[in-house]
């Protein structure tokens, strides 16, 4: 069995308004940082998982993302897998 580290990024879909991102963008501007065109807030979930193969990990993470980590009505997800 190998161990894998998975980083899952969950983002609100572009069509969904992100008021928390807008508020943070406004605060960033008050800090004097110029040029920010867009700021959106998402989530990152780190999973350490034991499995035979990377493909097997991929299957499990896909299921987790689709059924639990993200609500695909409002969110998109992507992830990276690293063997440790």
């Amino acid at each position: 069995m190998d161990q894998f580290s998975v980083k899952v990024f969950i983002r609100l879909r572009p069509s969904v308004l992100d008021p928390a991102g807008e508020a943070t963008k406004s605060a960033s501007n008050k800090l004097g940082i110029e040029g920010i065109k867009s700021l959106r807030i998402g989530k990152m979930i780190e999973v350490k998982i034991e499995s035979e193969t990377e493909n097997d990990v991929r299957e499990k993470i896909d299921l987790l993302c689709d059924r639990l980590f993200a609500n695909t009505v409002i969110e998109d997800y992507e992830y990276s897998i690293e063997k440790i």
Binding site: L68, F69, N71, I74
Partner: protein, 221 residues
Amino acid sequence: MESFTVGIVVFPGSNCDRDVSWALEASLDIKTKYLWHEASDLGDVDAIVLPGGFSYGDYLRCGAIARFSPLINALHDFVKSGRRVLGICNGFQILTESGFLPGALVANKNLNFICDDVELDVISTKGGWLNTEHQEKGIKLPIAHGEGRYHCDQDTLKKLIDNELIAIRYRNNPNGSTFDIAGITNKQGNVFGLMPHPERACDETIGGTDGLYTLKALIIN
């Protein structure tokens, strides 16, 4: 015959379960029974209310963890059998997360937790949760939520409109909901989810009785 019994689901973090029980028992003389979220036998209740609150601390997303409770699992057959389910506030969020109702509920546009009375237009009486008199006059119910902005894509919105599934709309949209939506039903009409709290509008002494009818509608067979 056993008297009609409404099951009120209690999740860790539910906080409107007792209000619903009080409203049903004291205001309407309807028998209630609390159902712990780990229960999977729903055989002795005739209708179910998913009350407001913060099930499982609203971790991950509102209603996301509740979806995996044994009770929600059993709710699929309950709904298929035609029995009635009312999801209020967090209960509505659970119904969307679990796929009983389309769309999702996200953070209010102004990021505030809004606690207020709202005027609502009654659009559809599907399922008998509301009536034609409500359609003519509208109703007033309290809201109390931070994540009540109903969101759905345009295709879903069209289906909601075409199938008359939008039960209530805000007159002055407080949270940025798509199409001012405050509550919807499923196609069969036996599942109704709404952000406003009918159980908090069941007695004149606490500001109104516009919620009584919807709670009473739980016992329509």
